[in-house]
Structures are given as structure tokens and as C-alpha cells.
């Protein structure tokens, strides 16, 4: 895009896409804002006019609000932690030359292709079921009482299920990062007297920092709105209600569109706060 002419041509060509994206984003956003200011109960009188900020104050003062924010942050944080740490370890492992590398790599990626609902159901019924689940059998084999996963450790269970789905994504991105490391750098470090741990800490990890940042940012965007996994496992019970799930309950279970919309706006604000926070911590890795 060097000349004046090519610049304006480029602008002209991009216009439809930009326009479409704007509409795509702006229409739902403005509808959410519109409904959030109105009293709208589809089964109990329909749209009953403006109530302005009443929905907002009701949503935030509900006893379920702050716990749901906390739950959201715990789940997102837990999944990020597990998928990044294990993603790095798996990537290191997969980077080693081994027999059947191609097959193993495809197997590792496989969970990412399983639909969230399906994987959550599989986990719930095949692994975590307190009577028939594999874990229950395993526990009994050691003479222990089976854990009732979804009610005794609901957050941990959900974190486990979603981490399983997202681990391949993290592993894949981190693996490509490791593979792009110049092997001469590692050899130089080896000659400089760096052992395995030092090489990991001083060379490999800093090299991966940008990829780790990307994994964290992308996963956060998707994880803030996880829903299916909660819906089919705990149904929001046992303190596993995230902000997204709370909004769903307000709109569909309580049939209060106005209140749910206000919650949606809070969710946007929360996402932005999280994004701001993340960019402060890890965003500098994206420069240069």
C-alpha cells in the first residue's frame, strides 16, 4: 500500500467487510442496551416500557451476582492455568523426536474437535458418574469411596472438563512456538553451561512468551462465555453459576429479558476489565 491511489482503493475494497462487521456487532449490542432499559417480561405482560436503570440495580444487588462473577473468574483462571502449564509440558514432550509422531500429534489434537456438549456429557457419564463412572471404579479399586464429582467438587470438575477441551489448542500453538526456536540458540546455551532447566527457563520459556500470551488472550475470550459444559453437567447448581449462566437463567428461566440484558451489559464490562488486566500483564509480550 504505497501510493495514494492504492490506499484509497484498499479502503474502498475493505468498506463492505467493515460495514458488515459493524452491523453484525452494533445491532445486537444496541438491542441489548435497548432491552436493558425496559421492563420486558415475555410471558407476563410483554414489553412494559422504560424503567431505565432499575434492571441494572436489581441485577447487581441480587445475591447471585458477585458469587457468579467470582465463579467465572475462578473457572477461567483455573482453565488458563491448567491449559498453559500442561500445554507447555505436552509441547515439550511432543517436540521430542519419537516413533509415531504424526499419529500422536493428531491424537493430542483430537479433543478440540469434540463438541463441548458431547465432551461434557462424556465426562459426566463415563468418568465422573459416582456409580458407573471410570473414576468411581478406580476409587473403589483402591478401596476408597467414590467422589461425587459434580456436587462435591463442581468447579474443579468443570475446570477439568473444559481444560481437557482447550489443552490441545494451547499445546498446538505452544508446539509451533517451540519448533520455531533456532536450535543453535539451544546449542549455544548448552555450550555456555546451561543445564536442561536453565535452558528451559532462560531460552525456551522466553521464546514462547508471545505464544503463551496469545493462548491466554484467545482462551480468555472464549472461556468467559462457556455455557454448554455447565448446562449439561451441574445446570448451574452447587455454586457453579457463572455470569453467563446467571444471564441465561434470568432471561429463560425467569423470563425477564430486561434483567438479562442488563446482565449482558455487565458481562461486557467484566470482559473488558479482564481484557485490560490481561493486556497490562502479558500484552507487552506482543510488542516488538
Amino acid at each position: 500500500m504505497a501510493t495514494q491511489h492504492s490506499r484509497s482503493a484498499a479502503r474502498f475494497m475493505m468498506a463492505p467487510a467493515v460495514f458488515l462487521l459493524l452491523v453484525w456487532m452494533l445491532v445486537p449490542l444496541s438491542m441489548t442496551l435497548w432491552f436493558s432499559f425496559r421492563r420486558f417480561l415475555p410471558l407476563r405482560g410483554g414489553d412494559q416500557g422504560f424503567v431505565w436503570f432499575e434492571n441494572y440495580s436489581r441485577f447487581i444487588s441480587s445475591s447471585a451476582f458477585w458469587p457468579s462473577v467470582q465463579t467465572t473468574l475462578i473457572i477461567v483462571g483455573g482453565i488458563l492455568l491448567i491449559s498453559v502449564v500442561f500445554g507447555i509440558l505436552l509441547a515439550l514432550l511432543l517436540d521430542q523426536p519419537m516413533w509415531g509422531q504424526g499419529v500422536v500429534r493428531i491424537l493430542v489434537i483430537a479433543p478440540f474437535f469434540v463438541m463441548p456438549t458431547v465432551s461434557a456429557l462424556v465426562w459426566k457419564n463415563m468418568f465422573m458418574d459416582p456409580t458407573n463412572g471410570l473414576f468411581a471404579h478406580l476409587w473403589r479399586a483402591f478401596g476408597a469411596d467414590p467422589v461425587v464429582w459434580l456436587s462435591d467438587a463442581p468447579l474443579f470438575s468443570i475446570i477439568l472438563i473444559v481444560s481437557w477441551q482447550w489443552l490441545p489448542f494451547a499445546t498446538l500453538i505452544l508446539l509451533t512456538a517451540i519448533q520455531s526456536l533456532d536450535s543453535e540458540q539451544l546449542e549455544a546455551a548448552e555450550m555456555d553451561g546451561a543445564g536442561h532447566l536453565s535452558r528451559f527457563g532462560y531460552i525456551i520459556l522466553p521464546h514462547m512468551s508471545r505464544a503463551i500470551t496469545i493462548v491466554i488472550l484467545i482462551q480468555t475470550i472464549f472461556l468467559l462465555s462457556i455455557f454448554a459444559e455447565i448446562f449439561v453437567t451441574t445446570g448451574g447448581a452447587f455454586g457453579s453459576r457463572t455470569l453467563t449462566y446467571l444471564i441465561y437463567q434470568r432471561v429463560l428461566e425467569s423470563q425477564n429479558v430486561g434483567l438479562g440484558s442488563a446482565g449482558g451489559v455487565y458481562a461486557i464490562i467484566l470482559a473488558n476489565i479482564v481484557a485490560l488486566f490481561l493486556m497490562r500483564i502479558v500484552g507487552k509480550n506482543l510488542d516488538a
Binding site: E184, Q185, E190, D192
Partner: protein, 334 residues
Amino acid sequence: MGRITLDKVRKAFGEVEVIPPLDLTIEDGEFVVFVGPSGCGKSTLLRLIAGLEDVTAGQIRIDGEDATMVPPAKRGLAMVFQSYALYPHMSVRKNIAFPMKMAGIPQDEQNRRIEAAAKALNLTDYLDRRPGQLSGGQRQRVAIGRAIVREPAAFLFDEPLSNLDAALRHGMRLEISELHKRLDTTMIYVTHDQVEAMTMADKIVVLQGGVIEQVGSPMELYRAPRNIFVAGFIGSPKMNLLTGEEAAKRGAHTVGIRPEHVSISTTDGAWKGTVGVAEHLGSDTFLHVHREGATDPMTVRVDGEFSARHGDTVWLTAQEDQIHKFDADGLRIA
């Protein structure tokens, strides 16, 4: 100290033997250059000495001690890589400090050595920059700085100048030679460029296909190449190699005549020919002369002021005492 001995060292990658059993001794304080065409195993040999590759058979001794199984860090050797292999996320200072940090050298000693190296290599103003903000020549110097501060028994260089432009290359060549004189430490230097080999080496090791063709000082190799390969590889421009009648007349299968050992005349001489391409270097000119009855042109060095135009007829005469003779196996006839 840095006396390195290779004893029947052999290296194979799977089935492929890259280096057949090879013996070589590198004396303490020597500047040794491994030279040979691309893919002849120079880097592999250097990496064997460094310990980055395991030898398939044979023994490597450093200062008389068996180092064959010693890990790279413990061999007391420092290596400068072709890509420089600087750590991109560390400042120049941290890059240079890295080997000392790994060795647990006290901070004030580290600082002293960094300052000294930076001063010697003109890097003082750049210590807080990242490698990405430096020019190629500066990066090269950082890599050398990182090697110097370890005070190694020997330096290993793998084509360190091949990523630099011609002017910088010449400058760095002098700097590395200067460094060698100052430190008086063994240096092993790998290159495919015979000019680098000739100008820097105390001892040149010419390699082909993993086999040592000849070992000797630059002038020994220039004066008495052991075979046709060395004859053609050392010296610039290349030696003219003649076979057939001219060789038979002198009792050899092939004779070699360097461009600087042919005199040219516009009136008479041993061979008549026409002038082809002329390469002007200013001080000298290299003429490619097509001799009558010969297929390949002969390269002749003439004075820069000598004027000859394309298509002119000239006569050439070789200095008989400077003609190299080789037998049918390509070996030198004494």
C-alpha cells in the same frame, strides 16, 4: 592451554559416513582453519570437537585428557555460530554475562569481564540494547564477546563471517586475527572461503568429503599442494590445470599453472591465444585467454595498467619452475 587431538575420529549419521576415521592435532595457541567446499563435513567436525555431536568412534583429547564423553559445557571451549545464536530477549550485557552466570562467577568479576570485552570489541555503547537492535557486525562482536568472557581453552568459529557484507567481512577478519594475537588462545575456524583461510590461518586443514586432503601453513599449501583438489582450492583466482600434450611434455598427467606465474606478451611466447573476458581489480587485471587448440580459457594475472582488448592476439609463457605436476591419481609429483 588448548591442545586438541583427534584420534581416529569417525562420524556417521545412520548409514551415511560423513567423516571417515581422521587424525589431527591442533597445537596450543594455534589458529587452525578448516576449509573445504560446502557439505564436506567442516561443521560436523567442529561440532564433534565442541561436543554437540557424539563421535561414532575414536577419541578426542583436550590437553591430553580424554574428552570424548565430556559434555560440551565441561570441555572449556567456546563457540561462535554462523547465525550468532544470540539470545534475542536478553540485552547485550546479559548475553555476554550468560556463560558466567551459568558458571556462578561473582557479579563484580562478571562486570569486570563484560566491561573489558565490551571495550575490546567496541560494544560499550550498546550494552543495554537487544540483539535485534544491532547491525550484523555488532551482533557478531557480541557473539565473540560472549565467547571471550568464558576464557576458554579454545575458540571454535563456524563460518562466522558468511552473513556479513564484503567490507565488514574484511574488517572482522582483521579483528579476529588481532584477537588471536592478543589472547594467544587456540582458535579453530571453519570456512568455505579460501581467502579467509589463507589470510588468517597458522595452519590450514583442507577437507573434502570428510577426508583431510592436506594440512599445512598457507604458504606450504600454496607452494606445494599435495593433490589437484588442494591445488585448485587454494589460491585466487584458481590455478589453471592442463592435461594432454602440455602435461605429457613435462612428464605428468596434469600440470597446474597459477595465473600469477604466466607472463604475457603481444609479440612472442610459448602459446598463442586471443583475449576473452578481462576482470579489472585496479591493481591487477585477470585476463581469460583462449589458447589456440585448447577448450578452457587460461586465467592470467597482468598488471592493472596492461591494456588488452577483447579479441586481441597475445602470447603466453609459463614460468617453468613454478609449474605443479600431478600424476594420473591427481597426486603431486615431487
